[in-house]
Symmetry: C2
Amino acid sequence: MGSNLDITFTRIVDVPKELIWRCWTEPELLLPWFCPKPWKAIACEIDLRPGGIFSSTMQSPEGVTMPTGTGCILEVIPNQRFTWTSALLPGYRPSLTLEKCGTDDAGFMFTATIALEDHVVDTGIGTKYTATVKHADEAGCAKHAAMGFEAGWGAALDQMVAMIKKGI
Amino acid sequence: MGSNLDITFTRIVDVPKELIWRCWTEPELLLPWFCPKPWKAIACEIDLRPGGIFSSTMQSPEGVTMPTGTGCILEVIPNQRFTWTSALLPGYRPSLTLEKCGTDDAGFMFTATIALEDHVVDTGIGTKYTATVKHADEAGCAKHAAMGFEAGWGAALDQMVAMIKKGI
């Protein structure tokens, strides 16, 4: 399956992958960076095992909360690989009800993987950070791309790296 | 989540769980029993790992082939627990395209788990066999039940047990 169904971006960052892993998998470390400002993440639930919950709630600058959906964790390889999907709820239950099917929500089914690898940088050992998001079809992928997926996840990553450098 | 979203059935059978496991996970052992006669399974692909493929093709008594869909394996605990879902394709890609969304296909998204436990029977150690199928909503669950899920899977299990007793 190919490029028209996936969005992927890779960045080299000068913080260790073990700290990035913690920022993705510990709710209290995820909240501060997960939403590009001026949005913010105000709630997060993570049950770090295949079949466990991954969910977050965002708040707009105007104070409107927006649940970003409840996903199911699929892969947990500490410090290396974290995958979850919006196509399943915790316990692997399919998420898309007939009621929602055919609405805009259906377009955003995706499976996201964060892959982390050691990478030598000027200051020592940094991380090659690869985020990949898979979709069922080109329409869903294009919709996700048009929402500014890459810019959004890139801005969030910048916030995470800044937070790690301040010390966590 | 509860009873109106799931179909489950439990049977005590007098064959060991290790052989049932093989019948569910080795294509050449799955083909002979997987479809209640006079239908038959004519093809099957299994890549036995989380993220791997689980797919089969059935043939009607009239010789019409019907792919029953390509699913993604989620849990592989040898001799104990096997889970796959139709909501994802191999590699965890969401399966439901916008094109299919809202059609009958969308009603059959499910996640199936086969759970096996030792159970003492007259002839020694048999198996407590539990099949559970989870749906996103009551409508999908009711539709699956109305298709004769339990009778179908029960008849298939009978075929599997008869095959094991003949020797595999």
